[in-house]
């Protein structure tokens, strides 16, 4: 019980400390549109490639190639064309900062 109470107060303290003004950034919101297929925060558990931990430049370049048709694919050439270059840059920055 004592241990439980101790843990409880630690958790409460953590709850209070974490509560300062969260902001959902445009990067977070845009990157989250990719999670359904590429896994939460870009960490895939299956045949679709992970994006977490890739360099921002490589993601931007890959998406640009999908857009122009230089790179072929099944679904990504169609999806890449739906995002602006500025949005792709924000998405790429977010995934480059995630742990693979």
């Amino acid at each position: 019980m004592l241990r439980k109470l101790l843990l409880t107060s630690l958790l409460c303290a953590a709850g209070v400390a974490q509560a300062a003004a969260p902001v959902v950034t445009p990067s977070q919101s845009l990157a989250a549109t990719c999670y359904n297929c590429h896994g939460p925060h870009g960490v895939s558990a299956a045949a679709i490639p992970s994006l977490a931990g890739r360099t921002s430049a490589s993601i931007v370049e890959t998406m640009a190639e999908y857009k122009t048709g230089k790179r072929t694919g099944t679904i990504m050439p169609q999806i890449a064309k739906g995002y602006t270059d500025a949005q792709i840059q924000l998405i790429a920055t977010y995934f480059s900062q995630q742990k693979p």
Binding site: A21, S29, Y35, N36, A45, I48, Q78, G82
Partner: protein, 430 residues
Amino acid sequence: MQSRRKFLAGAATVGAIGLAPALSGCASTTRSAALKGKVVIVGAGYGGSTAAKYIRDWSNNSISVTVVEPGDAFVSCPVSNLVIAGAKSLQDITVSYDDLRQRHGVNWIKSTVESIDPAKHTVKLANGDTLQYDKLVLSPGIDLMFDSVKGLKAANESGKILISMKAGPETLALRRQIEAMPDGGVFAITVPPTPYRCPPGPYERATLVAAYFKQHKPKSKVLIYDANDKVQSKEPLFKKAWADLYPGMIEYIPDHKVVGVAADRNELQFEVNDPVKADVLNVIPMQRAGVIAQKTGLANMNARWCGVDYQTFESAVHKDIHVLGDSIQIAPLMPKSGHMANQHAKVAAAAIVSMLYDQPVNPHPVVMNTCYSMVSFERAIHVASVHQYDAEKKTFLTVPGSGGISAGLSEIEAHYADAWAHNIWRDSLS
């Protein structure tokens, strides 16, 4: 780490039934000191589960989230046609709610909602409890319009004619009917007028039942009676699959709207055409927003679907109620899909966090849809679209030149379809 996790698990369970004085002490202290608001979420399918997770995550756990859900576990509608065809089990498409409760600290109430008072911001549950909310998220899925097909309600309740548009016991029951059907029998499926849940779903089901017949009952046939004038999704690809993989097995009949069934004779009755008999009937009726959305007066579009502000998914009728998933009036070319419900939920979650913190909401939300259909046990096809919010028109619009369907019937896309399912389940539920 293990003991902390165990402890958290205990906290979630005990907290839910209100028997932990030490913990409720913490909760109330935390609430007054730090909690920024209370969100109640009704329904834990693709929309509700995702909203619960992301409101917790994106608020750094500073917003309390309580989910009201009658089911014991999440059962996926996407992939359920593979269960009907015998290639997967119900277990394969079932995911526990434990991570939402234990890892994300979501309060969980296994019940249903009786009524909502939008003015008082309260929700009355079937178990007698009343919950107070600052924001309410409704993701109740679809209600089947039994009135649209005479005789269907009784035939469905007796288990004779199945619908199977909500994954679970009916998925298995339809599987058993198809298994019991003799070789040389006929399976007939009907497609309701659009819009309905999962535009490619009925066609995928017909195709996979044919895949099962091809292996086990090669003299059998599949009939698709469509109330619409054409296949509603991935049309050229389904037609290619039917011609190339199942020649002579699948017959597609457009412009046939089913209006009645005679279960004792296994008969479909149409608006204008002659009745048809088949060994197994799978009748999919018209649909509308989930019952609780209608009861609350939220289904303001044709008395069927809920109009929302697409920037926040807040109801057009009542403030502080956000509606997600299949229940909403869709923006142009936006399908009613699990993938889309997950994307609605993320836009709504970000908006709810911002609104509860008196911050401006994201002016440019983006949602996208990816939908794979299996056309055999080895090959799949897809449709994809990207929808950008247009502030002037106040709706989501697809980006010209983006989106599209597969180039052909693809083996690699069957692997992607499987990966999609596992990743979206992780994204929505873990």
